[in-house]
Structure formats: C-alpha cells, structure tokens
C-alpha cells in the first residue's frame, strides 16, 4: 500500500491517547460553526449564507458525502481500504436510474444498494480472497464502474422520452416530509434577519420542508452504524479485524468472513449514496453525476478519525461549502472568506501559544491573506467557487494529520495462519 507515514517521519507520529486534547464533542463544534456563520451573515448582509434554501441544498449535498464516508468507515474499520467507493457509488446511480425510471422510488433505493454491493463483492474478492493491494483494486473498480454505467445508460435510456444515451428521464424520488405550518412560521422569523435567532429559524425551516425520507433513513443508518460497531459483539469482532487481525484469528474470529461482510456493507451504503444523488439530488441519472463525492467522503472519514461523529462533521463541512457555491454563487462564498480568516486566526494563536512558532506564523499569515482577499474583492469568481469543496478537502486533510489514529491494520494484506 502507499508509503506509510511512520516511515516518512517518526515525528509525524500520533500523540499518545492520554495526552490528546480532551475530545471536544461534535455538537460543540456545530455550535461554534453556527455562531460564526451567523456572525458573518449579519456583518456582510449576505443572507444566502444560511438561508433555509441554502441549508436544504446543504443537506442534499451533505448526505451523499456522509453516506460515502460511512461506507468507507465500515470497510476501513475492518482493515480494507476502499478507494473504489466512487465506483460503487456510480453503480448505485445507474441502478437507481434504471429502477427509478421503470419502477418506483423505493425499488430504486434497494437497487442502488444492491448494485453498490456488487461492486463491494468484487473488491472483497480481489482484496480478501486474492490478496490484491487494496488501492490498486479500488482504482480498477472505479475504472470498470465508469464503463459499466456508461454502457448501461446507453443501453437502457437511449430513445426514451426525456432521456438519452447518457442520461435517464426524470425519476421520482421518495416522499418528503413537509410540515408546512412550521416552515412557514420559520420563514417569517428568518426574514427578520436577527442574529442567531433567525439562523436557528432557517435550520428549522430546512428540516421541516422538503426533507426527504431518504435523508432520515441515512441519518438512522449513521446511528445504527455507531451502535452496531461499538456496542455489539459483531462490531467488536469487525473492528478487531482492522486493529489486529492476528489477535482476532487466534481467538477464533474468522477474519476473512468479517472483512467480506464489511466490504459488502460498504458497497451497499456507497450504492445508497449514489442512489440518493440520483433520486433526491438531481432527480435523474447522468453520466458522471457523482463528480468525485466518493473521494470527498473518504476525506470526511479521515477527518472524523474513523468515527461516525467526526465523519458527519467533515461531511457537513464539505456539503455546506458545496451547496453554498452551487446555490448562492460568488457573493455568499465571498462572505465565507471572513469566516475562514477568523478560524485561521484563532487556530494560529492557539498554535503560537503551544509553542509551534513556524506553523503558527504560517497560519496567522494565511488568516491575514484571507481577510485581505475578503476586503479587496466583491465576489469570488464562479470557477473558484466550484473548487471550494475540493480545496476544503485538501485544507482539512492537511490540518488534521497529527491527531489521527487509523485502525492499526488498515490496508495491510492479511493471510490466514500468519498469527503467532
């Protein structure tokens, strides 16, 4: 697998558990983010920054990434790196496209998961049974999935009304939750543009109007994953395969079996992510509709330290920036610049106080540059806004390197009988 960090630099190692900064809970981070954005909105007058509409868009963008991250988590917790997520998502999109066109929305959901699981099965076959390098197998699956989806799209959708060789006709998504009374009231509070209160109202509005059932299902899946992996013996065994397969084997755990389960589930959830994009996000299938979201999901998983809570935070970050640039364009992203500047400034001060001089200075300088950018321009050009999720991914990964703790045996080839 790719050169491990411990060979690169012993100093890049991990902080021992007891010395790590006390884990700040997920909801605390969300609160801080909420306050910052609210503040930015009031200061810049850019109401699109967190309008109910934007937030709805953010949810639609956030869920596929979160599901992709969840899929990656299942696989990597069992020790199998799954770069092929993107490919499994693509298989999910075509499955959803077909069954959505010819049957109904929930059949499409099931189909998406099944198609994704097929991709997962291939990956499991190659890596667990044959011992192929995980990343190579993943890349190969991605290549294959693109071809398969394009072929099937042409086969199934050419000549259909509203469709064509590269896209399906519009498909119906699953039902949505609509509490019109509540959302209308929320809209009125939102329009008052009060600090924090109106922002809260936007959140309420976003959650009560046009909230897809699939979104609810996805959130439940995340919760279920946490319970299964950390509170059941199945989960313990699965995690042990990713931490120390040798130990698991000596205790009678069938490591191969758990890895295969994990990768299959991973594929199914990735497929679901693809299905969501087609059924709820775009409303149809199109070649290339996943657009790299699988990889962003993996980044969210890494950012979240291979735990569901942190992963959600990462996915929320990416989903939000994605939605912002899609919906609100240059003006709103421009307002985000001052948020970034503030965050960098605070982090830079924190680093300086810790004694990390060089890193701290770099961060503070970056903060100043962002602030300058904010003050000297009126808006961010469209091409740049489109880059936001990708640049955000890079930044987030670059900054979170130190505190990460991936499953100890992640990515390692495992053969039976190597124990002892």
């Amino acid at each position: 697998m790719t050169i491990a960090n411990d060979a690169l630099a012993p100093d890049l190692g991990q902080l021992p558990m007891d010395r790590r900064a006390r884990r700040i809970p997920v909801w605390a981070w969300l609160l801080v983010a909420f306050m910052l954005i609210s503040f930015a909105r009031v200061v810049t007058g850019s109401n699109e920054l967190d309008s109910a509409g934007t937030l709805r868009e953010a949810i639609t963008a956030f869920i596929p990434i979160a599901l992709a991250g969840l899929a990656g988590l299942w696989s990597e917790r069992a020790g199998v790196v799954n770069i092929g997520l993107e490919g499994m998502m693509i298989l999910g999109t075509i499955g959803a496209g077909y069954f959505g066109t010819f049957y109904g929305p929930w059949q499409a959901v099931i189909a998406a998961m099944v198609f994704g699981a097929v991709g997962g099965a291939l990956h499991a076959l190659a890596t667990v049974v044959f011992g192929v390098d995980h990343i190579v197998s993943g890349v190969a699956i991605n290549i294959m999935a693109v071809g398969v989806a394009a072929f099937l799209a042409d086969l199934w959708f050419s000549g259909l009304q509203g469709g064509g060789p590269t896209q399906s006709p519009p498909v119906e998504g699953p039902a949505s939750i609509n509490l019109t009374g509540v959302s209308d009231w929320a809209k009125t509070v939102e329009d008052k543009h009060w600090f924090a209160v109106s922002d809260l109202a936007s959140v309420v509005g976003a959650l009560t109007h046009d909230l897809s059932l699939l979104t609810v299902v996805s959130v439940l899946l995340v919760l279920a994953t946490y319970l299964i992996l950390w509170k059941t013996s199945f989960g313990l065994r699965l995690r042990s395969c990713g931490e120390s397969p040798g130990a698991a084997e000596t205790l009678g755990v069938n490591v191969y079996r758990y890895k295969i389960y994990a990768v299959l589930v991973s594929g199914a959830i990735a497929g679901l992510a693809g299905g969501f994009i087609v059924l709820v996000g775009a409303g149809l299938y199109q070649n290339g509709i996943t657009n790299g979201r699988g990889y962003i999901g993996l980044a969210a998983m890494i950012f979240g330290n291979w735990r569901p809570g942190g992963m959600l935070l990462g996915a929320a970050l990416f989903g939000y920036t994605d939605a912002l640039q899609l919906r609100a364009g240059g003006g709103a992203v421009h307002a985000l610049l001052i948020v970034i500047a503030i965050v960098l400034l605070v982090y830079g001060i924190f680093q300086l106080r810790k004694g990390a001089r060089v890193a701290g200075i770099v961060t503070v300088v970056a903060a100043v540059l962002f602030a300058l950018w904010f003050f000297l321009t009126k808006e961010v050009p469209a091409d740049f806004t489109r880059m936001t999720p990708y640049v955000a991914t890079l930044f987030v990964l670059a900054f979170s390197a130190q505190r990460l703790r991936m499953p100890a045996a992640d990515g390692l080839r495992y053969r039976r009988g190597e124990a002892g």
Binding site: S233, R237, S244, L251, G252, Q402, G417, G420
Partner: protein, 500 residues
C-alpha cells in the same frame, strides 16, 4: 494430553517429525529446545493454528482434531503467545472478550468476570484501560487472563520469559504455581534451562524437529539438559584478552530526544566507545534502545546534545553521510530495515552502500561489481543460498543475517551498530556472527551492541550499560556481573532510574 508421531512440513522445510509427548494433568510440563528446533510450530499445532501432516493428539484420553483455535478453545486449551496478540487500540476488556462474547456478553457481566480473575490471581489489571498503555509484564498477564476467561484447563505458554527480566520471571512463576494449585495443566516452551529446572515437573527435549528425551528435573543437571538440546558443544560467548585501545571512536554527549509531546525518549545519555571496544547496552525492550540506534544512525536527530564520530561532530549528519563515514548497521528487524525481501541477493548487497564501490560507479549501478562482491560475501560468511540471484525472502533467517553482517563488514567500518544481531538465528549462525564480531574487534572495530540476550552481552562486551526509561542507570563489568544484577538494574528494582 498425549501427542504421538506428530509431523509437519512446509515448502522445503521439515519443521516437526515423530514427536511424542505425554503431559500429565495438573503438572507444569516444559518443552525445551534451541531456536529453530521446531517448538513454535509444535505449539501452533497444539493450538489449532496449524494442522499436523502426521500423527495424533489425545486430550483427556479422547482423540482430538483441531482445525482452528476455536476447536482448541472448546477442548479447554488456551495459548499465551510469545509475541502478544493484542490490539493496542482496544481496551483490556475488549481484548479479553473478543471471540468469547457468548460467555458473559460484552458489558458489565464480562467486566465483573475479568475483575474477578484479576483479583484471584493478583494480576492487577483495569478492564477499561487501553492495552497500548500497558507494560510488557502486564500485557502478558492480559494474555493469561484471556485464556482463563475462556475456562482453559490446559495453558500453553510459548517462551513466556523471553521478554521478562529475572524479577518478573519470578512473579510469573509464582502465578504459574498458583494456577497449578487450582488444577490447571501448564505446558511451557523455553530454551532457558535454569528456569525450566526451577519450575517444571516434567521436561521434554526437542531437537531438530523431533523429541529426543523425556526427563524429570530431579534426574538431570543443567549441563546434561543442554547436551541433550544441542547435541554438541555449546557456543561460548566468552571473551579473551582485551583489545580496547585509547582512541575514541563514538561519543554521545548528553543526548536527549523528545517526541512530539515532549516525552523524553532518551534522557541525557552519554557514552564513549573506543576502537577495539564492544559496549553492550542491556534493557527491557521499549526503554529507548531503538531510539538510541536511530540517533547514532542519523534516522532521528537529538533534541539536545551531540554525537561525535572520531572527533567530528556528526549530530546534524544524514544517515547516508554517516554510513559513508564508516558506520555499519545490523538492524534488529532485518526484514523491515535490513533487506529488500523481494529483490535478489546481489541487489541487497547495494542496499546501504549505494554511494560506494563496488556497487556503484558514479551515478550508475555497477551490476558486475555488486554481483562479484556478493559472491565473495556468500563464500566468506558461509551464507547458504543456491545463488546470488535468489530472492532474499527465500533464505532462512540465519543466512539472511549472515549476509547482512558480511555486507556491513565489507566497507571496513570503523563503528558497528549491532542491534539484537542474533535474534531469531539458529545456533550455528549465531556462533559464526559472534566470531566475525570478535575478529573485527581485534582489528580495531568499535561496536555498539544492543541485545536482550544477557549471555550474548556478558560474553561479547567489554563493558555493559543498562538503559531504563531512556536513561543509563548502571555500568557493569561483564567479568564480574551476574544476570540478577543486570535484571535488577533493567527493571529499576534497585531504585536506580526512578523518575524524580
């Protein structure tokens, strides 16, 4: 338990053949043999990790076939491995409970059971602590707890004292006697004869993959046992006249190494090695030995302090420059640090010496040169290999190590850093490597020897230092020191090295 005619073959190697052992219930039965005699494979068969090619196993009078550890566990057999099988990122409870969740669940009932066992045998373990933070002795107790949790009646221990110092060995043996009193049967593999004689009720000797004798400790002396084990003369690491000169070759001057969280991995260490001198460093694994070699080799740079090679300050030098200046390195883990396993032997000749003749001419690889020199090493160091084109992985550990020693000596080094140089190496190769080190010492080589084999240290070194928690805590003269004295210093039992 009864084993009859057990045999096991691997591609090209016969690990076990015609093994016959009788283990009486409620006794401590020791299986002794030297490194490479086939003991570990035998134990893997007893625990179901490997299936025997021939022979039968009987447990409590009934024939037993085990195709996986789960079968062994069902029969009441538990194994404590030499290399602990623990997941660092999981807690003691999670490690113990893994695979046996049906017994007491994974919640409070399980926790209570773990605490009960820990109390009964005096293990002192906290179920919710991460294994990562535990010391070696504690980890071993977790392994034993795992086995007891599953109701094992027969407990197999593979080289349990390999990583322990004398005081911890006593503690372990006390635990074993306790277990015997409670009716357990213990099978324990070792190559340390004095320990075996102290605690076993029966002894079986294994040599070259088969059982050669079955004795009671009362009937046999240590020397007789050793003869049975080796069949020929024991290697003696005894030193002859001193070859130490006055010329200083390596000096570490108040070196401190801190990690990312300011934890001191090396704390104010100083040492001097002169030409013709072997300095041995003893210590329990994980007390800074690895970091010490890394600082000398340049793979890590000290936070404070200097490293000097024959009067030149090399503290800031890269590994490459140090090697070019004549530092040879025998790494403790030859597979990870000493060889390119999937490359042919002659390419491995180049490794570590890729800026010098004969492997390299300018910026090009001199293949003919490298090949020729590899032949020379194979010849001169008795490396058993069909050819120099053979992949390094295919050679046995002893031959790999001999090749590495030959390679490192080739460039006529002035300083040799030898980290556990005979670990996992068969006795013949071990003796050969010791001879080579002694020869080079006579010619003026300075050697930094780090080892866990106290006999090796005492036999080869001119002086010995003990390292504990990153500090040097004792200086000893090999001629007069005893393993007990070293053991005390290594564990801080004598009060040295305590944190202030």
């Amino acid at each position: 338990m009864r084993l009859r005619g057990i045999g096991k073959r691997f591609p090209g190697v016969v690990a076990n053949h015609d093994i016959d052992i009788d283990v009486r219930a409620g006794t401590v039965h020791a299986v002794v043999g030297e490194n490479g005699a086939g003991k570990s494979t035998l134990m893997k068969i007893l625990y179901g990790v490997q299936k025997p090619d021939d022979g039968t196993i009987e447990v409590n009078g009934a024939p037993a076939t085990m195709s996986s550890p789960a079968d062994a566990i069902k029969l009441g057999i538990g194994m404590v491995f030499q290399h602990f099988m623990l997941a660092d990122n999981l807690t003691v409870l999670e490690n113990v409970v893994l695979g046996a969740e049906k017994l007491y669940g994974i919640g409070d009932k399980a926790r209570a059971k773990v605490e009960e066992i820990s109390r009964t045998y005096g293990f002192g373990l906290d179920p919710d602590q991460l294994v990562e933070g535990l010391g070696v002795g504690e980890r071993q107790r977790v392994e034993i707890l795992k086995v007891l949790y599953r109701g094992a009646k027969v407990i197999i221990l593979d080289e349990p004292t390999a990583v322990l110092v004398p005081q911890e060995v006593d503690a372990l043996f006390a635990n074993l006697r306790e277990l015997k009193k409670e009716g357990h049967t213990l099978i324990f593999i070792s190559h340390k004869l004095d320990e075996v004689l102290a605690v076993a009720d029966d002894i079986t000797v294994v040599r070259r993959g088969t059982t050669v004798a079955s004795v009671r400790p009362a009937d046999v002396t240590s020397r007789k046992l050793a003869e049975l084990m080796v069949g020929s003369e024991l290697p003696s690491p005894n030193t002859e006249e001193s070859t130490v000169t006055d010329e200083e070759m390596l000096e570490l001057d108040h070196v401190t190494l801190e990690d990312a969280s300011a934890r001191k991995l090396l704390d104010d260490v100083s040492l001097r090695i002169r030409r013709g001198e072997v300095l041995g460093v003893a210590g329990v694994e994980g007390n800074g030995q690895t970091e010490l070699t890394e600082v000398v080799m340049g793979m890590r740079h000290p936070t404070r302090g200097h490293v000097e090679l024959a009067d030149a300050d090399i503290t800031g030098w890269s590994t490459k420059k140090r090697r070019e200046s004549g530092i040879g390195y025998i790494p403790e883990d030859r597979h990870r640090h000493g060889l390119l396993l999937d490359s042919p032997l002659w390419e491995n000749r180049i490794l570590g010496h890729q800026t010098r003749e004969p492997s390299v001419k300018g910026m090009w690889i001199d293949r003919a040169g490298a090949r020729k020199d590899s032949e020379r090493i194979v010849e001169g160091y008795d490396v058993r290999t069909p050819s120099i084109e053979t992949t390094a992985r295919a050679l046995s550990g002893g031959n790999q190590q001999k090749f590495i020693v030959g390679r490192e000596m080739s460039s006529d080094p002035v300083l040799l850093v030898a980290s556990h140089p005979t670990r996992g190496v068969d006795v013949g190769a071990q003796a050969a490597i010791w001879d080579h080190i002694r020869d080079a010492r006579r010619r003026g080589l300075a050697v930094l020897l780090i080892s866990a084999d106290l006999d090796e240290l005492i036999g080869l070194s001119d002086s010995i230092k003990v390292i504990l928690r990153g500090r040097f805590v004792g200086d000893f003269d090999p001629q007069s020191v005893t393993p007990e004295q070293l053991g005390s210093a290594m564990t801080g039992a004598d009060g040295a090295g305590k944190e202030d």
